[in-house]
Amino acid sequence: MAELEMIPIYIMGKRYQVPNTLTIMGALEYAGYQLIRGVGCRASFCGACATVYRQEGDPKLYIGLACGTLVQPGMYLTQIPFYPAERAQYRLEELPPTFATLVRLYPQLLKCLGCGTCTKSCPQDLKVKDYMAAAMRGDIARVADLSFDCIMCGMCVSRCPAEEAQPNIAILARRLYGRYLAPKAQHLAQRVAEINAGKHDEALAQMKAITDAEMRQRYNTRDIEPE
């Protein structure tokens, strides 16, 4: 049985006693905060709850998601629910999927120092520096792959000495890759053309017209594609 123990934490410098089994988010709520900012999906998908913290006796700053990080005794913490990263204006359908596009929209890209502070600050443990390096080489596919799990919390931006907008460069790269560079699904376009040509109308109309009893019969005896 895990010991339930009350521990001190410091929320924006103010001390609270909270159970040691809580996440930072749970601890904020336990302390009495009705969260509006700094809370979202509560499951590490949305990037709303990025939190900067430090442990007692350790000068190093850590970054974690409040919903995905356990409290520890003596933790000093503050949430950073929003960070004003630059986002370029563009229409995806007008963009060539090239290095020139990345640089035109985000000229700052070329000023990346390669210091790796972004990688150290990523609560998803992404190799941010590596995808920025790929962006500087114009390797859009690599940027897309390495940045895929980005939740756009903005913490890399907050720590970047070159004032890069890494998550926005990354989503531009992913969208360029998805639209232009990934191989197209031919069977998909073909099925859409069939549907638009009315080729599935009759089968659908027939399916809708059958009796409830026949529908059940068909459903219960339908063949299932093997694994």
Binding site: C41, A43, C46, E93, F148, R175, A185, R191, R216, Y219
Partner: protein, 539 residues
């Protein structure tokens, strides 16, 4: 607190799981017969627990079974009772108002814009803070040679226990391939083979492999792309965050004509006048029906249902909720967190404390969840955790054995990360799971073009009801939000020019208060809820 993975007593059970694995690796427990499915649902599904539901005392669904938590809010008072608002002092005038900034709202904004509408999208938290962002497993569409919209239709209707609205289902399956193509063109990175063929797998209740995914960030990938696309049109689409709608506005002709917003940070009200209003507020898992933990976004409090019901809109299938079979049961910090159905889609089996199978791994969600509840509550075959919670094993290491080393990491990176944060390695150890409240099967009744009985009011996504009947299949909610979001936007975009608005009014709020009195409802509840209260002093 140190994280140590599983406890020694849990390890004893895990030893049995590992020992039995070779023998069951290629042999799934058989599927239940139709009669057995009905019986297990009646006996074990939370929808059938009598104390969980009660009859509504007023409104269009008067007498209808409704979850007690939702009923209390539906029968609540307006926040604007007695408020003095100057409805002539309009803060936002818009062709189309979209309430909700998730997948359905964003899809609607884009298609309404295409039709030339100026769109105001308002959202309770941030744009993209929605259940769409959290959907992991995938999105269905019949785009393979051996599949067809008609076959998808049959699976949807059967999965919904033959109760679904046929016209809505037809719309869902007919538009599905087109929606995938649309998303592909928006730059969504669906999982593909090198030749571009979309990789598709089974979900619970599918007869063909038609589940498309983007690793296990499928919903996030779709939501990120939609949000980025919305941000590409700031001149046509205005997004206002942290400003939930708290009441619909009507005009003196009985048409829906906008909404009253509340700025969550300054508490100021704002008046929105709109010629078309689309409710895309999502579900209500944060009401914690039957005291279940839930997978939902913090803002999923059913606000759209409350506002629509107050003007007299009818709800459909509101007595059925989806309990996802596999929510995390351990460690306690993530109880209720979604464990994607893709894990079972990739072949992982569900096992009891003895390491034995007791259910086919890919029954429809309601049946699978009921079987797990039976195994734990009736048969006593659950695995106990230190905090007193119980669950069953989901044998994730099977995935690498069946599909090759590295598959779990490649296909389920979010799950690996989630569990690793709390000391569990799902590549080598199974996950402990128990059903968790996941989805609102029903909602506001709509037509296939997303219109309702009220001129000016449309609904799309989880807030609507009818397409899924009494049980939604995996992969049909991302499909629902995109198909019906686009349809709502198209309809609103086509209709707004012909809408002549009269004088704005909140007379329906006064009428509602009178109805409450007539029905003898005495309550302190004000609704919509807006946010759940998890503070210690609020609990």
């Amino acid at each position: 607190m140190k994280l140590e993975g599983y406890t020694p007593s849990m390890r004893e059970s895990l030893d049995r799981v590992v020992a039995g694995r070779p023998a069951r690796l290629h042999t799934d427990w058989p599927m239940l017969s139709p009669a057995e499915k009905q019986e297990i649902l009646r006996k074990f599904h939370p929808d059938y627990v009598p104390e969980g539901m009660r009859a509504l005392r007023l409104g269009p669904n008067k007498g209808g079974r409704t979850p007690v938590e939702l009923a209390a809010l539906l029968e609540g008072h307006s926040w604007l009772r007695g408020a003095k608002l100057d409805l002539e002092d309009v803060d936002f005038d818009s062709d189309v108002l979209i309430i909700g900034g998730g997948g359905a709202g964003s899809a609607a904004a884009l298609t309404a814009r295409e039709q030339g509408a100026k769109v105001l999208m308002i959202t309770k938290l941030r744009h993209g803070d929605a259940n769409t962002m959290m959907a992991q497993g995938g999105i269905q569409a019949s785009d393979k040679e051996n599949d067809s919209p008609a076959r998808h239709y049959l699976d949807v209707i059967g999965g919904g226990h033959f109760s679904n609205d046929p016209d809505l289902v037809e719309a869902l399956v007919r538009d599905a391939p087109e929606v995938i193509l649309w998303l592909e063109n928006l730059g969504c990175m669906f999982d593909k083979a090198p030749d571009g063929t979309l990789i598709t797998i089974h979900g619970g209740g599918t007869s063909r492999k038609r589940m498309h995914s983007a690793r296990d960030y499928s919903g996030a990938e779709i939501m990120r792309a939609l949000r980025d696309e919305v941000r590409s049109y700031p001149e046509d689409i205005t997004v206002v965050e942290f400003a939930p709608a708290i009441e619909l506005l009507m005009d003196d002709k009985g048409q829906v004509a906008g909404a009253v917003l509340q700025n969550l940070e300054t508490e100021e009200h704002a008046i929105v006048r709109a010629r078309q209003t689309i409710i895309a507020t999502g579900g209500s898992g944060r009401l914690h029906y039957m005291s279940y933990a839930c997978t939902n976004h913090y803002g999923a409090t059913g606000d759209g249902l409350i506002m629509a019901y107050r003007i007299g809109a009818r709800l459909a299938f509101i007595d059925t909720m989806q309990y996802h079979p596999t929510g995390a049961a351990y460690p306690e910090q993530i109880i209720g967190l979604l464990v994607t159905e893709k894990v079972r889609g990739l072949g992982a089996q569900v096992l009891n404390i003895h390491g034995e199978q007791f259910v086919f791994p890919r029954e429809t969600r309601d049946v699978e969840a009921s079987a797990i509840i039976r195994e734990v509550k009736e048969r006593g075959n659950g695995v106990k955790t230190p905090s007193g919670f119980e669950g069953v094993w989901l044998d994730s290491p099977m995935v690498d054995i069946l599909h090759g080393p590295g598959t779990v990491q490649k296909e389920l990176p979010a799950m690996v990360r989630q569990f690793r944060r709390f000391g569990v390695d799902i590549v080598h150890d199974p996950m402990l799971v128990y059903p968790t409240l996941h989805y609102q099967n029903g909602g506001i009744a709509i037509r296939p073009d997303c219109t309702t009985d009220f001129p000016g009011l449309l609904v799309a996504g989880e807030a609507s009801g009818g397409v899924h009947g009494r049980n939604r299949l995996m992969g049909n909610s991302l499909l629902d939000v995109t198909v019906f979001g686009r349809r709502a936007g198209r309809t609103a975009g086509a209709q707004f020019r012909n809408m002549q608005l009269g004088k704005l009014t909140l007379a329906h709020v006064d009428a509602w208060e009178k109805e409450l009195a007539v029905a003898g409802v005495e309550t302190d509840v004000q609704s919509p809820l807006i946010l759940p209260d998890y503070t210690r002093h609020g609990r």
